[in-house]
Assembly symmetry: C2
Homo-oligomer: 779 residues x 2
Amino acid sequence: MYVGKSVNRVDAYDKVTGRAKYTEDFIRNGSYTAKILHSTIAHGKVISIDTSKAEKLEGIIKIITCFDVPKHSFPTAGHPWSVDENHQDIADRRLLNEHVRYYGDDIAVVIAENEVQALQALKLIEVEYEEYEAVFDPIESMNSNSIPIHEQTPNNIIGHTKNRFGNYEEAIKEKGLIKIDTWYETPIVQHSHIENHIAYAYEEQGKIVVVASTQIPHIVRRVCGQALGISLGKIRIVKPYIGGGFGNKQDALYEPLAAYLTTQVGGHPVKLDSTREETFVSSRTRHSEKIHIISYVRSDGTFVARKLELYANNGGYASHGHSIAAKGTNCFHQLYPCDNIEADGYTVYTNLPTAGAMRGYGIPQTMFAFESHLDDVALKLGLDPIELRIQNIMPKGFKDGFSRNENYYDSFREAIAVGRRAIDYDKKREEYKNQSGNIRRGVGLGCFWYNTGVYPISVETSSCRMVLNQDGSVQVQLGETEIGQGGDTAFSQMAADSIGVPLDDIHIVSTQDTDVTPFGLGAYASRQTYMASFSITNTAKIFKEKIIDRARKELEFAPKNLDLVDGMIIRKTDNRQLMSLGELATIALYDNKDSDHISAESTYTIRNNAFSFGASFAEVEVDIALGKVKILRLVNVHDCGKLINPRLAEAQAHGGMSMAVGFALSEELKYNDKGKILNNNLLDYKLSTTMDHPNFEVYFIENPEPTSPYNTKSLGEPPTCSPAPAIRNAILNATGVRVNQCPMTPHVLFPLFKEAGLIENDYEKEMKYENKAWSVENV
Amino acid sequence: MYVGKSVNRVDAYDKVTGRAKYTEDFIRNGSYTAKILHSTIAHGKVISIDTSKAEKLEGIIKIITCFDVPKHSFPTAGHPWSVDENHQDIADRRLLNEHVRYYGDDIAVVIAENEVQALQALKLIEVEYEEYEAVFDPIESMNSNSIPIHEQTPNNIIGHTKNRFGNYEEAIKEKGLIKIDTWYETPIVQHSHIENHIAYAYEEQGKIVVVASTQIPHIVRRVCGQALGISLGKIRIVKPYIGGGFGNKQDALYEPLAAYLTTQVGGHPVKLDSTREETFVSSRTRHSEKIHIISYVRSDGTFVARKLELYANNGGYASHGHSIAAKGTNCFHQLYPCDNIEADGYTVYTNLPTAGAMRGYGIPQTMFAFESHLDDVALKLGLDPIELRIQNIMPKGFKDGFSRNENYYDSFREAIAVGRRAIDYDKKREEYKNQSGNIRRGVGLGCFWYNTGVYPISVETSSCRMVLNQDGSVQVQLGETEIGQGGDTAFSQMAADSIGVPLDDIHIVSTQDTDVTPFGLGAYASRQTYMASFSITNTAKIFKEKIIDRARKELEFAPKNLDLVDGMIIRKTDNRQLMSLGELATIALYDNKDSDHISAESTYTIRNNAFSFGASFAEVEVDIALGKVKILRLVNVHDCGKLINPRLAEAQAHGGMSMAVGFALSEELKYNDKGKILNNNLLDYKLSTTMDHPNFEVYFIENPEPTSPYNTKSLGEPPTCSPAPAIRNAILNATGVRVNQCPMTPHVLFPLFKEAGLIENDYEKEMKYENKAWSVENV
């Protein structure tokens, strides 16, 4: 059995040696390079574009403007399609846009023989705009009277989730209730995957082929068809290895535009490769959210009534639409069930770059608010934050009516117990009780839950094909994609066990090619290991039956007495090895009376979802005068069911914790008052690095998930959900100061600490002096 | 219905626009180039190779010699494998050879950064040989006492077919029999495909990937495994479009060596691209054959007893072994059945380049002999050649005991009748009866039969996979390969009809990739349209059943009342269109309770073979003094069953006739007495071109073949089988001179005409003068 073992990644050797092929490696000599002209206003209309000077440059093949492209809109979200119009994604984007919705919108493209020529041409294109008033804040936007960002959405509200349980207004009339009322805010951050988005398109065999760095090849195929207005059978998407996605590539980004461009140059190959600067502006970001929570509690810690208002800043285009804010809003009544709840979540267009899916899909934002709020309540009541959580958190047996997700174990309390022990919570709480001075320490925690996939909101389906080689090895094809997370390794382990062959005999076909790869939805919603486990085991069952049936023909044994174990056909009565699978495959294939190339393919519709649970515990050291937070320890505890590969699971958690540290302490995209980005590069955008991390500690509670064949459930996104509030609550524990926004930079902390009286005037003076000195030095 | 219609080639647009990708197009920047050092002796042993000087050159990555490669031999023939050792191909080749068997054998390889460096290095390598006696003639070779060409074959005889029917020795005792006893000889010719052989190999994902110009990707995969001694699951062959093969690429050529080379440079990509000069020597050729026929006939034209001796010159390595000569030998007793037959066919190693499969697989050689002999018999008896054939040729109802092939119609006599009318045979025979002077004309014919595939000698199997897209279009994958013949178009037509969708909705996956392409044997033995017709119709049946079953679920109609016609689900009772296949596919895929990605895959074992029949008629004009033959008309008549695509069928025939014209009149590889080739390029090797052709005329007798679903049978090779003897017999008709060897060049004809008294001394003198003048001019 390979499931449960920390086998090496199947792609380790190729990736370490640089042999692994990415989209860039597919580009042929003589391909054209396309470069996009981005708008220099945040909101308005392109009146005219003069390309005459640019066209005179050497090497310019063609310049295409927003006036040339098809006049219909398409959706970009990496969601499965629905035949129900009400479940379809919002079609609000064109290949290039006359109505400009953010500073950096796509208005024209130069196709040139090389990049230098294309960039020179961009500078010579003259654009005339009619400028509209721009709005950057979601609450302002939904109340704005200016020209709507999208005509069909007059109030700029993309979606509104409204949950009502019990009777909030009645419940808060109870005498003696304590009210805790706070606003929280999270920043716009970016995925910052190593490989920027790249798409490479050409025509071949009556089709447009797009090689692209995407998480969702089959979905991108459909979107390209919609964008170009052609039948999707005439589109072929090839997805090689990709250098990270984290949700940004769970959208059709520039694949539709690349597909269109090749059709404009007679099918010649065209490369459309985003720079880092473009990626920061013109791909997707994580929604900034403003979250208002009011809790009415009894002094014993009982929640009586709770209210949530959530405003998600979606930027200029719908992308995933309201689903991200909806997920966060729906979390409210599940994490801490309470009888009387009012929750409203809004997703609102603004004139900022488009927000889309990013690891956690709305949960990092809401967990920052919800779990900060929990500590705020505990502080107000004088209760220990852990005790307040244990008292109120989702209990064993909780079942969500809509998703039918169930908490089969007391996973939350188990996770809290493990983290509490691991970080020595009680001792540290005691120790850090009465601190003074500039350097103070604290511990804190945050919890989260996460779904696994998107059922029942959308279809969850996975298809798998297995092909037997003459040496007994097996190709396994899935539409689920390796995006760096180790999916291929987990799939291979499950396939080896399900079929009964050595792991070395599983050849996972890593590259998805929509022409030949069975349909699968791709990498998102932490779905893949869970969903693929169904299609792999189901297909393996059919595959194995065919193998056993063939073995029966060759050996004349009753099938029930035969099995395939470790690549050998065995007799079950005494476990004797009768022949190898390779021998059988060879005999079957070259039998000139009855040749058989054994393969199996099947689709599995997954009609389940599963809760994943966990908690983060942080220990921090705060330098109050500098407003600097150093993370001393960060512990994540997860119940993601049984682990397929413990070492990969731990790595997955490390990656998520790293992203969460950046989200908590340093990362934020900033814009000026015209909506122009100020830090569109990795020098100015403060991505968290190993220099900012302690040694991450990860623990797993492997409560076997009963819905899935290998008892697994989501782990991809969960690790990024709860570290930020844990850090925030540790700061609170250290300083007594409630920090209600991320990232918790010195710029945020310093005024808060000052307001709290933690910073003496001396410090302030000193700081001012230092800042000045620093400025001078850098002039 | 698309079968039977001359639809456009599915690859026409890509090929005309240069968009189609060939192996060369896969080569990435930075790949290494490998160049082979070929032996400069025809037979001997490499004693030492000094690479020290070559290694010092810039850019040399590695030099590998025959002393470095694995010490085991492997077979190269493009035959399906057999688990029966006696049916396995001869393993007599190593990646590089210490024992050198022909002038041009592979003894070392330079891997360099580029081609210039590699070629420079080749010149600096010093080789010391021990030279053995070389033999170039098959009859001499089998009687030679010198060192055998392969140790395990002491008499140099690769194989011997011995057929005995009746009692030849008794039969010839009959009084009054007329004996006709002649030797015939055919040349060594080369396929001369436009694209020389090329293989490009690299390691990736634990596998060796070889992109190669091959007809037989799945077979080459197995051979590469054998050659390198590794499991074939770790080999992946990718076959893009190829620029012709004609049987030369029905062998593993340099794919195994390329696969080995990449393993020697850490998996770095290595290109191994043959030049035209190398292709002429170091790939494969068509066997030269010496054929001895003795016929005993009665004066009424009855064949009483016949004897055949056939000697095929196989060159230095076995390649396809004896199967080619065996096929020709077995033809003898079938074409003109006769009660008393002795036939012996031998395949013999010599120290010439290796002969292998070439379009016709031994039949062009034997037809040249057999059909020339028929006219020789007719001449002797004073009978018309057509009447003699009609009297003796394979009758309707003839059944071959071994292959179980049956002549279900009187196809031969029908074909002869059509050709006779088309070329106005009787009138021309009359007209050309008493000619004199230097320019004379004649008409002649030749017949042939041909098998379809290799059953029952080897397994015949074809697998097919069909994948439904959401727009109702379908990917079709087959292991059978497009090699320029139009296979993909024929497969698409059959798939469209079998499934019930418009032809535009069939997306044939042209590139075979052994990782994901169902097993199929590839392009050879004129098998593909026939074999694929079984797997396509069988898979379409399963595929369609799944579609109808899904339609039933959506529509609640009894499946028996539903059908799929032209891409629409119809109600059979009134032919009403209920929904499109695209709608059904989309509903099925996105059904979140029961999602279905419809596909089907199946293997079909074909346990049939089928006779194809035909005849060629030629009209020639002979300039006796110049020994020049001009073809005025060339007519081919074929019964290849029902035509899938008449225009493609005609083009197929044109190509074969062109090859046959070269074989008849101009093409021959020549060697000096050391076995060194004299004309290894397309200037000196006289390939027939359109300048040498009349407008080819082709007629089809579409007798429906009862064994195959679309009533089709072989056409790929047949057109090349009978033109040569038709031309030869037309020359005989024109001049009365029997030419018993090909090519019938002036060098051959002049002495024959002189011997026959057709050339006066005046002519002779004039010729000598002219030759001299010509020589002077060209000094």
